[in-house]
Amino acid sequence: MLALPVNLRLLRRSDFGVIAERAGLQALPLVLVLGFLIGMILAFQSAVPMRQFGADLYVADLVTIALCRELGPLLVAVILAGRTGSAYAAELGTMQVNDEISALVTMGINPTTMLVLPRIAAAMMVMPALTVAMDAAGLTGMASVLAAFGYPFSAIKAHITILSAPGDFLQGLLKGVVFAAAVALIGCRAGLTASGGPRAVGQAATAAVVGGIVATVLLDGLFAVILYRLHL
């Protein structure tokens, strides 16, 4: 415990910046493209059956809720698991099999403080931004489909419910931050527990992706139950 301030002194801002950039900025194009396409697909797939009831404008409500509350944070978490969770596992796993972690420990440095905390913090920090990007891209995709169906933009906008009641959107952001923490923690843990040569690094990366996605879905289910109980 006494060693903590000393350790914190070693948290280097440049390292944190690099980690956050890799987890966030570099994922942005993928998030935007995926979000736009998912928004389009959702809108198109639901507009066709809804049209039979003359309710196709309500597609905007549907897609908004589905995206902001569920799919946005979920998809970003899956992307985070695939890109960042695996990278954390590979980085820390390489350090583990290369005895760098042991070297830190013998120097009295806590690997958790120096390596794990900044990574979890970076993931939690970029997650809301990526989720907003995913939501915005998805809604744009949805709007472009409805616009192609001939609805004026103002009518579509009136059905994007989060603009008047942002509850669903904020729920999504909150869930996303928790998913990000879980994905990052699982990735770091997989790396730190790697043992037995270079092959272990690959196995750690796989374990990080699988574990991150499973944890995200489980947490999502837990959120569904809790939020339902809280009547949110």
Partner: protein
């Protein structure tokens, strides 16, 4: 007087595999103690036990009368380690690597740490490479930088895992001189894993030989004595460069 490092019946079992059993020896202050043996006999494992990274399956190790099992923080304060892989931190250049233990354990200002780091890098002939990253230097240079990092705090005990592997004979001989120089000037105690017969003869006060088949210690003593009197065929083969 009891030995500075005391290993008592140290045993290491991984799962069902016994690596070594009942290894015992003492190392005195100011001694250069060499651990040798074939690949996979557990030299690095024994070293990790001695710095408290790997709890022995059985047995006890004390360093400066602190138990490695229970007082590991005290033990580590006495020891500088060079791991077999070098274990330099990839995101830091050599000077930052060597400064790190100084930043952790001392209150020295940053410039002073950097100055000491450059000095230590100079000892291993790496002054020029101070600002390079570990990925930009050769394997032998990684080893030397790792030695410089182990030296950073002038610890009373230095543990070097194959410091001369991958070094040319001239650099390797320079390293031997460095070890003896530190021992003579600062009284540093060395535990060195090495296979270089010439180096062992030059620096070792005593050596311990581990063997994978015997799952333990097969020889302990002064290298000159072992060379002349050892009866164990593996030990003889090593010191006389014979094939078994």
């Amino acid at each position: 007087m009891s030995a500075l490092i005391q290993v008592r019946e140290a045993t290491q079992v991984f799962g069902t595999r016994t690596i070594f059993r009942d290894v015992s020896f003492g190392i005195d202050q100011g001694e250069v103690f060499v651990i040798l043996g074939g690949s996979g006999c557990g030299k690095s494992t024994l070293l990790k036990q001695m710095i408290g990274l790997l709890p022995p399956t059985a047995g006890e190790i004390t360093v400066a009368s602190y138990s490695v099992n229970t007082q590991v923080e005290e033990v580590r304060r006495h020891i500088g380690v060079m791991f077999q892989s070098g274990a330099l931190f990839g995101s830091m250049n050599l000077q930052e690597n060597v400064s790190l233990p100084l930043a952790v354990f001392t209150d020295l200002p940053k410039e002073a740490c950097a100055e000491i780091a450059r000095l230590k890098l100079g000892l291993v002939g790496l002054t020029e490479a101070a600002s390079r990253l570990p990925s930009e230097i050769s394997g032998g240079m990684v080893k030397r930088a790792a030695i410089a990092r182990a030296l950073a705090l002038d610890p009373p005990i230095l543990m070097l895992d194959e410091p001369s592997a991958g070094l040319d004979p001239v650099t390797s001989a320079g390293l031997d001189r460095l070890i003896l120089g530190l021992r003579d000037s600062l009284g540093t105690t060395f535990v060195v894993v090495t296979h270089e017969l010439a180096s062992i003869m030059a620096i070792a006060d005593r050596c311990a030989m581990l063997d994978a088949k015997a799952q333990g210690l097969i020889a302990l003593g002064k290298p000159q004595d072992l060379k002349q009197t050892a009866t164990d065929p593996t030990v003889r083969a090593f010191f006389h460069r014979e094939t078994l």
